[in-house]
Symmetry: C2
Subunit: 271 residues, 2 copies
């Protein structure tokens, strides 16, 4: 869409925004089109399916059991057994650091963040242990602008396409995971420069932001403080724009939760 | 805020919207404030806590079990066992009707709906079996405008304040639930007049939209077709505006899911 046509479309949208924001007034026009209706919503989650879910080594079993059916009971229901970090999920500070916040100590606003997508698929090709560098992120910023504090920084490694196969955990014969992730240096730089603030997130289509062979989990340990969260095992990242979208993290808020399996939505403004 | 000041604020917002929506262009200004940042997000869900969760009679047990701790394992994790309709949750057509859609057969867009709130707290006072009438809804519409197709119609009964106590299921000595709900006549009217369309939802802070003593579940049976969903055991409804907000339903999308425990967010535009 050319710039002029886009501007015209926006003019129409602004008019309806005006109608929306006067909704408390007597002259509100509730039948008008609603600008929020122009947001596209994409679920960045895999279907939560035991047959296709690669468990993180050591995770408790994930089971869906049909416990009621319409012919027998008049309704249909499954019983779910799963760890809080099963399939696409989010994680909270208390997952890695004692004294930090549980899920029920975060606010809804902590789960609603502007999102940037850094496509590292070319960088990781041929090196399953690739560690994303400061320079990789700076290169992205030269094209797309500086990452603002409180952003969900989402790495698209391509691992989403391996989901449901042994190539996702990608274990070697010592049982170690091989997946790309963020270098420890780049993690310190994101924190030291304020790109990750009190709020914010690292997201990835792998098991987590750490390089698989780093069994110290230093990146996650640094992430999980204040109100920062992780987004793990993301899917459908080809549908997330490079910037301009926001993410909203669903999933139940468990008492003393470490996170939960979730729909993780991208809210995408019109082009 | 007066109308003139509101208009001025909107002008500023439109300018930044322009910046946002040209994000693909070379002249984009990524450092600018982002209009989506002006949306307020409220979670219309109770904390998912076995000690405070009123189970629907017959539901399988809800258990949170700590299976890993930081001193022992280096990370903290709970194992969750629950029915798909435990605590605040959403329901899908296959929950009640064979041949209708499971959770993994709906789209993200089916979970993102404009919301209206109908406050029936005064109507149900003194009558726990109150059935909301067509006239009750028409009275709401005379003040607030006609309900559009594809809306989440949310009834605020006040039951949210009973959560975690025996007054929530409110069982009589025959074990029957007493809770207010939608009359069958009003449900037919919502469908016949297109107020509930192919998409849309009934939401409530009770166990569900049926009057508790109606053990035929006629309202739910009529609701659960096409792409319509239910929102049950809602909370924080005092924070949901009468209209103008949208809801977005989180929770994992289970394979052949009947719904799931979820964060159910209200996205609220600025006043």
């Amino acid at each position: 869409m050319g710039k002029v046509r886009r501007r015209m479309a926006l003019t129409g949208m602004f008019a309806t925004l005006g109608g929306l924001f006067t909704r408390g007034d007597a002259d509100a026009t509730p039948g008008q089109p609603d600008p929020l209706s122009r947001l596209r919503v994409v679920n960045l989650a895999h279907v939560h399916d035991p047959d296709r879910t690669n468990g993180f080594p050591g995770d408790p079993p994930f089971i869906l059991e049909t416990v009621a059916t319409i012919p027998e009971d008049g309704f249909y229901l499954q019983y779910v057994k799963q760890g809080e970090h099963t399939g696409t999920h989010w994680g909270v500070p208390a997952h890695f650091n004692e004294g930090e916040r549980f899920a029920d100590q975060l606010d809804a606003q902590d789960l609603f963040l502007p999102a940037v997508k850094i496509d590292v698929r070319q960088l990781v090709r041929g090196n399953d242990d690739y560690a994303i560098t400061i320079e990789d992120i700076k290169r992205w910023e030269r094209r797309n602008g500086r990452i603002q504090p409180g952003t969900a920084i989402i790495f698209w490694t391509g691992w989403q396409d391996r989901w449901g196969t042994p190539a996702f955990p990608n274990l070697d014969d010592q049982g170690r995971i091989h997946q790309p992730g963020l270098s420890i240096e780049a993690m310190h730089w994101l924190l030291d420069t304020g790109r990750l603030g009190e709020r914010g997130s690292l997201g990835t289509d792998t098991f987590g932001a750490d390089v698989g062979i780093d069994e110290t989990f230093t990146v996650s340990t640094l992430l999980f403080h204040e109100r920062r969260i992780s987004l793990e095992v993301l899917a459908n990242l080809e549908k997330l724009p490079t910037r301009g979208a926001w993410i909203l993290v669903g999933g139940p808020i468990n008492r003393r939760g470490s996170g939960s399996p979730a729909s993780i939505f991208a809210l995408i403004p019109p082009d």
